[in-house]
Point group: C2
């Protein structure tokens, strides 16, 4: 019955750098974005390690995967309440938005039963608006 009693997971320079990326940026990140941020503090992190750690952090409940239409997956800190996202069509950065539209139960044909929904807003983020002046 091998209980993973104590440690089981070790702290490594790479793992710390990966966690720090989320804490410091405060927004959903793609694997490639995580790699870029992690490189700042741990120059030798490999993309394989990023993928492995993202998966582990999701399994242990520290992160959740954020799927967006036509985009590579992003990951964000878990534990937040229901919210949606904003994708900048220029720089491709994703931001979290508070709240949700009210009557989301739009005309559902008879016989269908909806349990949840995903909403994504597209546009330009503050950092990119100058480029489109």
């Amino acid at each position: 019955m091998k209980l993973k009693s104590t440690v089981a997971t070790r702290n490594t320079r790479q793992k710390d750098a990966i966690r720090a990326a989320f804490v410091e940026t405060g927004r959903p990140l793609s694997p490639e974005e995580v790699l870029s941020y992690a490189h700042r503090t741990a120059a030798d992190v490999s993309i394989a390690t990023v993928y492995r750690n993202l998966k582990m952090l999701v399994e242990e409940g520290w992160l959740i995967a954020v799927q967006l239409p036509g985009e590579p997956p992003r990951y964000e800190l878990s534990g937040k309440e229901h919210h949606h996202h904003f994708l900048c069509d220029d720089c491709r950065k994703v931001y979290e938005l508070e709240g949700c539209v009210p009557a989301i139960e739009l005309k559902l044909p008879r016989g269908f039963r909806a349990f949840s929904h995903d909403l994504l807003l597209h546009g330009i983020c503050p950092a990119c608006i100058p480029k489109h002046a």
Copy 2:
């Protein structure tokens, strides 16, 4: 200046089978779904041909790509007005929904500018509800 004056595209058994899949099912289809339907009338269609034709049909404006979070792309007949989709969490089929939620402009932080949105409802479709009784 090679004008593609006349023909340029030829009608083939495979292409007809692919177009028929959309006309007959009336819902967004993934490449694999298209392949399955096409096999009914053209037993030897290859997946490469499906991908090539989907791309061509999008380029000539007959189809549009429908991207959904965490899902392979679907394709649907173009020319419809603004609408959203429903994904059955059981059979993975996608359906088109009419209309849109009204005040979609939820709390957007200052400095952001939104131009469009994507909405997907998740649930169970009529065909799958019996399985969940």
